[in-house]
């Protein structure tokens, strides 16, 4: 194992972390504010990827496909909450019941995609990327674009949470919805906007994922759900900054594990770290820090 191989693994881990960060922040943000564990998240990613596929197949650019995927994820998530999840919550369905509902939505969505597109593999139509050498590592233009997209998305989320009224309202709603409502915050609207924002990140994550893997099918997003949940749990559920950190840990660790041990232990090593961290800090890495500094969503 040479230092350059290790360095390359870290660099490649940043690409993986970028995809995980976009997906993980959306997932944890939505859970933190709405208290609904949406296990259909991976399937919404896939559906958004199919929207992007249709856009690129129509001859439009992959950048437009990214926007379309994010817009679809956002709109679908809002509608999903309005017409499926909220009625269950109003009827008193509790956390575990909502998990079952979200699994049902996941299966329905997955099978709907299978029925519409068939059991096949699809690729976005986009120009073949070129290679770029940076600090002894080789990236493709697509990978650099994915890193840039993730950085931009994380920066926007940071600005939104820290400096906007909506961000403050989201944090208040997440902390105590009843109190937030009594203070004049339109919590229903905040929840809608949270679904829209997390859905947009979900859609964006779906598109960047399939840009990276190049071929996808109706189950690609759901296969990615476990690492996304791991990122959210590792960072502290409901903590967007924790999810960013969790994505870095999982992304880099899995690539380094592939370099040092064997590719088949990629997930195993990452999840061993997850278990160790949770044994030491069941609330996740950043939970207490976030609460103390009032940066939690």
């Amino acid at each position: 194992m040479t230092a350059s191989t290790l360095l390359a693994a870290v660099g490649f881990g940043i690409v993986t972390a970028s995809i995980l960060a976009v997906a993980g922040v959306g997932f944890t943000l939505q859970f933190g504010v709405t208290n609904i564990l949406n296990l259909a998240y991976g399937d919404i990613m896939t559906a958004s990827a199919f929207v992007a596929y249709l856009v690129t197949n129509a001859g439009l650019s992959v950048w437009l496909a990214l926007v379309a995927g994010a817009a679809f994820g956002s709109a679908f998530s809002v509608l999903l909450n309005r017409f499926i999840y909220t009625p269950f919550v109003r009827h008193g369905t509790r956390l575990f019941g909502m998990i079952i509902v979200s699994i049902a939505v996941s299966l329905i969505l997955q099978n709907a995609l299978l029925a519409i597109f068939g059991a096949n593999f699809f690729s976005l139509q986009m120009p073949r990327p070129s290679s770029v050498h940076i600090a002894g590592m080789v990236f493709t233009t697509v990978q650099l674009a994915i890193i840039a997209i993730a950085l931009a998305a994380m920066l926007l989320i940071h600005l939104l949470l820290r400096y906007s009224k909506l961000g403050k309202a989201m944090r208040a709603t997440a902390t105590d919805p009843e109190l937030a409502r009594n203070c004049g915050i339109a919590t229903d609207r905040v929840i809608d906007l949270t679904w829209a924002l997390s859905g947009a990140l979900c859609g964006l994550a779906g598109v960047v994922l399939v840009m990276n893997v190049t071929a996808f099918t109706d189950t690609t997003g759901s296969q990615f759900l476990i690492p996304i949940v791991a990122v959210a749990v590792l960072g502290g559920i409901g903590q967007p900054y924790g999810a960013m950190l969790g994505a870095l840990v999982i992304g880099i660790t899995s690539e380094v594990a592939a370099a040092v041990f064997s590719p088949q232990y990629k997930d195993v090593v990452a999840f061993v770290i997850l278990v160790i961290v949770l044994l030491a800090r069941p609330q996740g890495i950043l939970s207490e820090v976030a609460t103390r500094k009032e940066v939690a969503a």
Binding site: T2, T5, A8, A9, F12, G13, V15, T16, F31, L37, L39, L95, F96, I99, I100, S102, I103, S106, L107, L114, G118, A119, N120, F121, S123, R128, P129, S131, V138, T140, V142, N212, V213, T214, A215, T217, T219, T220, F224, L225, V229, V233, G236, I237, G238, E255, V256, A258, A259, S262, P263, Q264, Y265, K266, D267, L278, P282, Q283, G284, S287
Partner: protein, 423 residues
């Protein structure tokens, strides 16, 4: 927070349980059921449609020819998801609920070790597509294999690469049981031929990236890559290899010659790179002769039940599934019984060559000959079927390139060459 963590754990467990469901296309009560016991979803979802491409044309011709002892046949999908945890309950359900089940196509390597004993105990004749060497000397009476074992596949790949002059190779196989069963004989044969396997580590499937693995592989300077991974993994791996370094020659197993794999990887690396760098090895099944013509005609006429049927016209596995159904149907007629416990022993009788036997290439011809009191040797679309004492029948391998949207034969490895290296 603790509640949330518990909820996550419970949710993941429930999600896993939710994945246990299997699908069935349903069948009429009076029809004899042939189970298509293979993955239709999951990483090896490409296997199932290939099986449909063999079962449907066979059943179509059998039913058009008056059926078997007054019964029609039907193909019923049983999705194993390519996972023993799903396949075992699927097998148990199938045996318990399909009262007219006369046999199955499958299982594949993904679930064979867990389900072959179950099916055997249930007296279900199975025409397996598993290549696992564990079944080379199988003692299961209801086990039948007319596709080559994986160890044979490994020999064929090694011989083909050796013939091309490669001496340094990387083995890129998925960490699933099916793919890993190819590796031991590939390594031993390539080494015996004077080559070196410079990289051999199982791959975790469907990752978002394989860049680190590629760096490690390139550090060993291979001339060729041997592979069997699912389409999504292959697309990610090969496109990243192409982007980061440039393509290397690739020799794949027959899994890489299946339509979904070819489509996915061609989309990822482009048709010119596929045509130039990729070759796949598959059991040799010439697309010619009367048995193949009957198969292909029925296949092409089955478009209402087989999507894009022409994609299976030259697929050796679809041909062997077709042959498997025909053999079971003819064995029933020869045994004058649809009871598997009775007709199972007749499977050898309708396929083995012998003096005075009438060679037949279709179900209709076989049925007619049997009704006339003759003994028959069924020669199928995939060629002659000669079972050894362990119910295995294997043959030669062909190498194919993907040219102009179709696998095209570029050479072959003979059964004699394989036998020589396997000693």
């Amino acid at each position: 927070m603790r509640t949330a963590v518990i909820a996550v754990g419970t949710a993941l467990a429930l999600a896993a349980l939710a994945g246990c469901a299997s699908s069935s296309s349903g069948a009429s009560a009076s029809a004899l059921v042939v189970g298509e016991f293979n993955p239709f979803t999951g990483p090896d979802a490409a296997f199932g449609p290939e099986m449909v491409g063999g079962c449907i044309p066979a059943v179509r011709l059998i039913n058009a020819g008056g059926g078997v002892l007054g019964h029609q046949l039907t193909c019923v999908q049983e999705d194993t998801r390519g996972d023993p945890a799903d396949a075992v309950p699927a097998a148990q359900k199938m045996i318990a609920t399909e009262s007219t089940l006369v046999g199955v196509l499958g299982p594949s390597s993904d679930e064979a070790l867990a389900t072959v004993p179950l099916l055997n105990t249930g007296h279900v004749p199975m025409f397996v597509d598993t290549g696992q060497a564990a079944f080379d000397h199988s003692g299961y009476p209801y086990f039948w294999r007319i596709t080559p074992a994986d160890d044979v596949k490994g020999y064929a790949m090694a011989l083909w690469a050796h013939k091309a002059g490669y001496t340094r190779a990387a083995a890129v196989f998925g960490n699933d049981a099916g793919a890993q069963s190819d590796v031991p004989t590939l390594v031993s044969a390539f080494t015996r031929l004077g080559g070196t396997i410079v990289y051999n580590k199982p791959f975790a499937l469907d990752q978002s990236s394989y860049r680190t693995e590629i760096e490690n592989i390139l550090a060993t300077h291979p001339q060729v890559i041997f592979t069997e991974v699912d389409p999504q993994t292959a697309s990610t791996f090969l496109s990243e290899l192409q982007q980061l370094h440039g393509m290397l020659p690739v020799v794949g197993t027959e899994v890489t010659l299946q339509a979904p794999w070819l489509k996915a990887v061609t989309g990822a690396i482009g048709a010119p790179a596929m045509a130039k760098y990729f070759e796949g090895m598959q059991p040799y099944a010439p697309a010619s002769g009367p048995a193949w013509a009957a198969y292909n005609k029925s296949l092409l006429a089955s478009s209402s039940q087989v999507p894009k049927p022409s994609q299976w016209s030259t697929d050796p596995y679809s041909m062997t599934y077709y042959d498997g159904v025909n053999v079971m149907a003819l064995a029933m007629i020869a045994a004058k019984s649809t009871d598997p416990k009775v007709f199972n022993a007749y499977i050898v009788k309708v396929t083995a060559p012998g003096a005075g036997k009438t060679v037949v290439t279709t179900f209709a011809a076989g049925k007619k000959a049997l009704q006339e009191g003759k003994q028959i040797q069924y020669v199928g679309a995939g060629g002659p079927i000669v079972f050894n004492r362990w119910h295995n029948s294997t043959g030669a391998f062909e190498a194919a390139r993907y040219l102009n949207g179709n696998p095209s034969l570029v050479g072959s490895v003979s059964a004699a060459q394989i036998a020589a290296i396997s000693r």
